[in-house]
Symmetry: C2
Subunit: 349 residues, 2 copies
């Protein structure tokens, strides 16, 4: 009998709705098995900020870090809410977790499941993995402004990139490629961001030299968005920086039938900190509380979490149940709970 | 009788092929009119660099700047050519021109022409204009690295943004929206790049207050890529920074039937420097010299150039002829020259 300490952060908007279904599925797949999840619930996000003025305190962080894994719904208040102007829940909570817990791999698989309503006329087979760097690049918060609010304002944002940070995520990407179709594509903008891009390129080339069995290519970020709609089948593993990965994975979600299906893991492969699993989508406050959000992305994030914990059989069962559910969708409306119930029922069957 | 001094830079790869057709069209539309283009040809790009070691000398720049307008094909050598490793034709020539000639508006219209083979099942009506800032942001070349090539390398890239630079391009975008469907969408990543993004947002809000007739909204860059494939009809004028504009316009080209149709202008609206018109696509060395490149993007760039020069009737005739050509394409192969000939013939008819 093994026990896993799971921190659950439902968050804002549709977060609590989709997380409820993800928990149902987790219960269903572990029922009768010899693993038990001991859950602690954390109330964090815009809602908590509006109540208490806190985004993520040191105590919150320490308490969360004491868990084995984290399940996150989505955070973020209603856009334009004047009470949140200076809050920046994204930086103060979501990115703070990713950075503090050294989630240097942001793992985002993209797959066009049979039956999923993709927007492309001729998508071909889509099945790739984006390995997005999670702790560097333009996301480091290294910016500032002078003469703010005047006609002479200057605002800078500095992307910080280290060989240490890039090499570890590049190695992770190659390890994934070896277990998949043996191809790594670096996406960057080396012709403009020559210093950061040059370092990425050199490190990929060096790691490639150790992997003669892995095919390697390079695509600029602008061209990569073209390929995502004209020839997504060309990709197996994409490795890229924090910002380019953010952009590509939203687009990848769209071409595979909507970000209602896109799962992700914020992973610390070293195991020094708990990894965190979350749907790629946001809190979507405009549709919150209506039971119309698709919980599939949150449910597939459970599969990524189980896989990360080494519970590969359970992970495969969740993925399979979700895939079957997707394949049998006929476009008729179901509530968020009905989707979660249907997938859970398949797991209990 | 008016005379226009035109600098022509065919460049590398397919550049010379598509520019030859653009020139044909320019000849056809101005034949018998009272405007004459006096052309000077500049040999620049990777080819020139390999011959002479120069990318863009001060003399080149001064000579080009003495013209009224510039027509550019595309520049860039064969990817991976070891002789070009340290050349960076893009930074040393293309971006140097854009910056030196203060091309602060990078104008990139996106339209799904009837008959164009778009990749989307249900594209809706696509007709928007990206106003991409051209002289700031992550493109300023403000980067560097230490301990380069060692395991302790750190490489930074700084995005520099000024209120002066943003306000002028935002005002341009609003002026375009007034002449179009009256909507401006700011695309940025304000939740991560809080300083640069915050300034963009404040300036857009301030200019919006002077334009109660223009509807304004904001979309993160990641979400914008989703909208481009799920609901591109929601956009009228997009205003955005240099890097986000680069990414969005390649994707926009793809969703409107390929970057073989995407035209652009690098514009100095003040008239202090000549503006430069170019297809969005690159030099595509892999298909160069085969007469299979589509010259339509270069030809539509001629329309943007004529419009910029106030030759609006001529501009409209070129656009119309290209649109008719696109509408009547049946998928059978034509050479680059045949497409140029067909569009020129329509103009002479
Ligand atoms: C909310 C935001 C800060 C976040 C990001 O940019 O990483 C989100 O878009 C994501 O992709 O998880
Ligand atoms: C060649 C490159 C520097 C350029 C850019 O990034 O601006 C190109 O992609 C473009 O869009 O014109």
């Amino acid at each position: 009998m093994s026990r896993v300490k799971l921190a659950v952060i439902p968050g804002d908007g549709i977060g609590p709705e989709v997380i409820a279904e993800a928990e149902k599925v987790l219960d269903a797949v572990t029922r009768g098995s010899d693993v038990t999840f001991d859950k602690t619930r954390f109330s964090l996000g815009a809602g908590r900020f509006l109540e208490t003025g806190d985004t993520l305190t040191d105590d919150d962080l320490a308490a969360i870090a004491a868990h084995d894994v984290i399940l996150l719904g989505a955070v973020g208040g209603v856009p334009g809410d004047p009470r949140l102007t200076n809050a920046n829940i994204e930086r103060g909570m979501l990115l703070k977790l990713r950075f503090a817990l050294d989630h240097y791999v942001n793992l985002r698989p993209s797959k066009l499941y049979p039956g999923a309503p993709g927007p492309l006329v001729d998508p071909g087979e889509i099945d790739f993995l984006v390995v997005r760097e999670g702790t560097e690049g333009p996301y480091v918060g290294n910016g500032g402004s002078i003469r703010t609010g005047t006609p002479h304002e200057v605002a800078n944002e500095t992307s910080v990139n280290t060989a240490f940070g890039i090499e570890r995520v590049v190695r992770y990407a190659f390890a994934q490629a070896v277990r998949r179709r043996g191809k790594v594509t670096l996406v960057h903008k080396t012709n403009v961001l020559v210093h950061a891009g040059g370092m990425w390129k050199r490190i990929v080339d060096a790691v490639a030299a150790e992997h003669p069995d892995v095919a390697v290519d390079y695509v600029h970020i602008d061209a990569a968005t073209i390929y995502l709609v004209t020839n997504p089948a060309r990709f197996d593993v994409i490795v890229t920086d924090n910002l380019f990965g953010d952009i590509l994975t939203d687009l990848a979600g769209a071409v595979t039938g909507g970000i209602g299906l896109a799962a992700s893991g914020n992973i610390n492969p070293d195991g020094a900190f708990p990894s965190m699993f979350e749907p790629v989508h946001g809190s979507a406050p405009d549709i919150a509380g209506q039971q119309i959000a698709d919980p599939t992305a949150a449910i597939l994030s459970i599969a990524l979490m189980l896989d990360h914990l080494g519970l590969t059989a359970e992970a495969a069962r969740v993925t399979h149940a979700a895939e079957q559910d997707i394949a049998e969708r006929d476009g008729s409306a179901r509530t968020t709970a009905q989707v979660g119930d249907a997938i859970s029922a398949r797991l209990r069957a």
